[in-house]
């Protein structure tokens, strides 16, 4: 059984992926990670990227975001925060605000709520300026 504490075997590929993610606020996709790590490890495979992401997810070291409708995005910051995505270019930024998000019993319909995430949609400064082109 997987657990957060379980040690993970370190490999150069994993180290490179972890290093790329460390402090990264760009919310990269698997492909972004692959392309970046590939510069240093040309032989790395997509499967390794996905495997490593799964391993990190299992250990709560990375957060898989579904906010982008085209692909999954990954966030190494697993502390509670929220996101704002540009609906045009899909750029994502962090929102560190502590919203009051309590759901009254009767609204929760018997669910045991364990997580909450606010998604904001809008246009980034760049896309906001070029609304009518592209």
């Amino acid at each position: 059984m997987e657990s957060k504490a379980k040690k993970m075997k370190m490999t150069p590929q994993r180290a490179a992926i972890i290093k790329y993610l460390e402090g990264n606020t760009s919310h990269p996709s698997a492909e972004d990670i692959f392309e970046s790590v590939r510069k240093k490890y040309p032989m790395i495979s997509f499967t390794t990227v996905y495997n490593t992401l799964q391993t990190l997810k299992d250990r709560d070291r990375v957060w898989e975001l579904n906010i982008d409708d085209e692909r999954k995005r990954y966030d190494p910051n697993v502390k509670l925060h929220h996101h704002l995505i540009c609906t045009r270019c899909k750029n994502i930024v962090d929102i560190f605000m502590d919203f009051q998000l309590d759901v009254p019993e009767e609204e929760a319909q018997g669910y045991m709520i364990s997580g909450r995430h606010v998604e904001f949609y809008g246009l980034c400064p760049k896309c906001g300026k070029t609304k009518n082109r592209g």
Copy 2:
């Protein structure tokens, strides 16, 4: 150019899809819609389901949700509300609460925010009871 007001041609297939969606709070996937409508219209194609959903989206008559990491889900209720998903069985229920979700200028980083959506994660009553099986 598409617009919310633009009339859409009505066909039996579309009528069936719309009827299925009307008042539907199950947040169906495209496949759910396809399987349901197929009972009455065995010849309907998946493409028609997706085309119709696109048409309805363009007219803001349906909301495409990315909350389920496996597939897109559709909600005919386009009035602002939020969602709670069971992380095990992916059942989704509506949360009608008016949270205060204002983002201060400096947090918005120049984005023009146009939408907001709170996603809650948890276990539904049924899955909560069977945590350790399956």
